[in-house]
């Protein structure tokens, strides 16, 4: 019999447990971050419209990036995240 030690690492369970869940997106404060990737320019406005129609958010906050490379500036992200209950993020490059 040969005993082998697993080389696999697992994410911290505590970190998973700290995640908050949103019981419903309906009537909550919504946020959108979009990188304006060309292939999504027709899709994204329709997605936003559909979600707003479906979820009737109490307020909507948006941040549209001007590039696909860089993350949204930390200060802008923090301000947005503090203003909403959930974020819909569009990425792609």
């Amino acid at each position: 019999m040969i005993e082998l030690v697993s080389p696999v690492g697992y994410p911290k369970v505590e970190a998973q447990a700290q995640r908050r869940s949103l019981d419903t997106p309906v009537g909550r404060r919504a946020g959108f971050i979009w990188n304006q990737y060309p292939a999504t320019r027709h899709f994204w406005p329709r997605l936003e419209h559909a979600l707003e129609t479906l979820c009737k958010p109490s307020s909507v906050h948006r941040a549209y990036k001007t590039n696909t490379w860089m993350p949204l500036e930390q200060a802008k992200f923090s301000e947005l995240a503090d203003s909403v209950d959930y974020l819909v993020i569009g990425v792609g490059a």
Binding site: I2, G9, W69
Partner: protein
């Protein structure tokens, strides 16, 4: 603190099939991470097996001394190699090394550069075919261990958490040691604030890997510097946003020629940065660190009329490492470039050896 799982097989003949079934390897054969092999590495390091070293991107798996040791064993590391791997893990787990390091569609690899006295002590192969394959156990095993750590702890597995479109052939094992005896300068990590007597590991998000011939017997050193600088200028990476890093691995003959002419590593970095530019004809990105835009004078000017756009490269983004074979008639260089949308493209940590 997590203890690593223990698996049991009946015989060594079962190992190869078992390890592929478990998904513990990136495709290349590996050594069995037996309890004895792992114990010998943990005992050598002299720290608690459950010590948490941090989490490894992109899967945020928790790296402990024990599971890192298991990956070292699979890579064929000697226990003496483990402190080097642990320093590299410290770099990978540092929040300054961003998650995008391996997730990008650009297929960046992780290059590990080992500097200082440890290079000689561990018998790194630092001369001909420094980037391998070269028979150097330290180069290959440490590089493989880091790759397997990314695979097994970071879950950097294609099609799942990493989306590189092409991959990177050096990713199987991408580790070099800086030449100790033939270099005219102090170790590269001295530029980063460590002592020459220290040993250190630099981990770099490595994109383009290019060979440059620098014919020191037929052109002057002034032209050699221009050749090195144009090596940066032709890389598309210089035109995109974020933080960048450029590593020049130059062979000892070229380094010695520069040193004889009075160059230090520091002022060599400065003159390379001064000459690294691109013609506007080639400039495909705008100044907003972003998306490709048509160049306004594309195809409308003769080459001599084209403007020169100075790439905003600074000396601190450039690092010079000495390594490779001697070739007095022909300087040789490998340039490795890096760009990171967020965080630092490369990090250096001092190696902590057992007491």
């Amino acid at each position: 603190m997590q203890r690593a799982e223990i698996h049991r097989i009946e015989s060594i003949e079962q190992f190869t099939g078992f390890v592929y079934e478990q998904g513990w390897t990136d495709g290349l054969p590996v050594f069995p991470p037996t309890r004895e092999a792992v114990e010998s590495i943990v005992a050598y390091v002299g720290r608690a097996r459950g010590e948490v070293l941090g989490t490894i991107f992109p899967g945020d798996g928790e790296a402990t001394l024990e599971n890192v040791a298991a990956n070292c064993a699979m890579a064929g590391c000697l226990p003496e190699h483990a402190p080097v791997v642990l320093a590299a893990v410290e770099c990978l787990a540092d929040p300054a090394m961003p998650i995008t390091t391996t997730q990008s569609t650009g297929s960046a690899s992780i290059l590990t550069i080992v500097t200082g006295p440890v290079v000689g002590a561990l018998k790194f192969h630092t001369r001909e075919w420094i980037f391998g394959p070269n028979g150097g156990r330290a180069n290959a095993a440490i590089g493989r261990a880091i790759r397997l750590i990314l695979w097994n702890i970071g879950r950097a597995q294609p099609g799942k958490l990493i989306k590189g479109t092409m991959g990177h052939p050096a990713s199987w094992s991408y580790c070099i040691g800086e030449e100790q005896e033939l270099t005219p300068w102090e170790p590269m990590h001295v530029d980063l604030g460590l002592a020459a007597t220290d040993s250190a590991v630099t981990v770099m998000k490595a994109g383009e890997h290019s060979q440059l011939a620098v014919p020191i017997n037929t052109v002057g050193l002034n032209e050699c510097i221009t050749l090195l600088a144009r090596g940066i200028g032709r890389l598309g990476i210089t035109t995109s946003g974020g933080k960048r890093g450029f590593v020049y691995v130059i062979n000892p003959s070229l380094a010695q020629a520069f040193a004889r002419a009075g160059f230090t590593r520091d002022n060599l970095r400065t003159v390379i940065a001064e000459r690294a530019f691109k013609y506007s004809y080639d400039w495909q990105n705008d100044s907003n660190q972003g998306d490709a835009m048509p160049c306004p004078d594309l195809d409308t000017k003769a080459p001599t009329e084209r403007g020169i756009v100075v790439a905003p490269i600074t000396p601190d983004e450039i690092h010079v490492v000495v390594g490779g074979g001697e070739a007095p008639q022909m300087g040789q260089c490998v340039s490795v470039s890096s760009r990171s949308s967020a965080g630092k493209p490369m990090l250096t940590k001092r190696i902590r050896f057992p007491a």
